[in-house]
């Protein structure tokens, strides 16, 4: 059988790639794409743990469902924000959005 470690390594890698996307991409939407990847990595982790440790206790899946909902909500709001910012500033490049500069 597939040891748990594979899943865990996979999710860690996915998480790191998502993290890279968040930190390194210029476009704000691309950043959000990276966030999505990270959320998915977390979900993989959760479901893997559910399956491998105690499948009868359905808590893992419930957690994953909730994460789904949260991810959806977050994407909606995030993209709305990006659009709004685009309207005002005419840019979606994260580096150009530095109004909080000193």
């Amino acid at each position: 059988m597939i040891p748990l470690s594979w899943y865990l390594i996979l999710s860690a890698a996915l998480f790191s790639i998502g993290l890279f996307g968040v930190l390194a991409r210029r476009n704000a939407i691309a950043i959000l794409l990276g966030v999505e990847l990270m959320l998915n990595a977390v979900n993989i982790n959760l479901v893997a743990f559910w399956r491998y440790l105690d499948p009868v206790k359905i808590t893992g899946q419930v957690f994953a469902i909730i994460v789904f909902a949260v991810a959806a909500a977050e994407v909606a709001v995030g993209l709305a924000l990006v659009i709004s910012v685009y309207r005002n500033r005419k840019t979606v490049v994260a580096d150009e959005l530095d109004m909080m500069k000193w």
Partner: protein, 190 residues
């Protein structure tokens, strides 16, 4: 099984890399769809069929589409959008590698790192158990309901934030937010 897993894993990781490195955002979004598919297959492998379907429907069917919409709405011109990565991408790469390394190290020092999956008792219906858990007052009905409230809030918020008074036939004068404070929450003062 193992083969399946390996193929799926490669797909996921490759798609993910493409997501974060594509210059063209639409391409990036489409690569995201691919990655999400791979994750769905993974769920199926893990005997979480319901989750796999939910993944496809929601993540790919709603969220990825939303991403494409957003990309469309924020396109300046059809030309090249410049470099995809910002100036300090190598620092970020380093950080991600370190993160991965750290996570892997931490996980590997856990005793149950390489365990085998537990057995599923026969006759165990995960879906119905999930359904029970989500609406049973002893279980997770409250988080479930709160999640629905969260979604409503996100919906209203997103609509409100992204609302554009110039476009559309919505009346201006009568358009007062329910909260009663000034409109144009998304306005930023120059």
């Amino acid at each position: 099984m193992t083969i399946l897993f390996l193929i799926t894993a490669v797909v996921i990781l490759a798609s993910a890399v493409m997501v974060v490195t594509s210059r063209n955002l639409v391409h990036a979004a489409l690569w995201l769809v691919s990655a999400l598919f791979g994750v769905a297959v993974l769920y199926a492998l893990l005997n979480a069929g319901f989750l796999a379907v939910v993944q496809v429907v929601i993540y790919i069917g709603a969220i990825a589409i939303l991403f494409i919409f957003a990309v469309m709405l924020t396109r300046r011109e059809m030309r090249d959008t410049g470099p995809g990565l910002n100036k300090n991408w190598w620092v970020s790469a380093l950080t991600s590698i370190l993160t991965f390394g750290g996570l892997a190290f931490l996980l590997s020092s856990w005793s149950g790192f390489s365990q085998t999956p537990a057995a599923i008792p026969s006759g165990f219906d995960a879906v119905s158990a999930l359904g029970d858990a989500l609406i049973s007052p002893d279980a997770f009905v409250l988080p479930f309901e709160v999640a629905s409230v969260l979604l409503v809030a996100a919906l209203v918020g997103a609509v409100y934030i992204a609302f554009n008074p110039r476009a559309g036939d919505s009346p201006r004068a009568g358009d007062s937010p329910r909260a009663g404070d000034s409109p144009r929450a998304g306005d930023s003062r120059k």
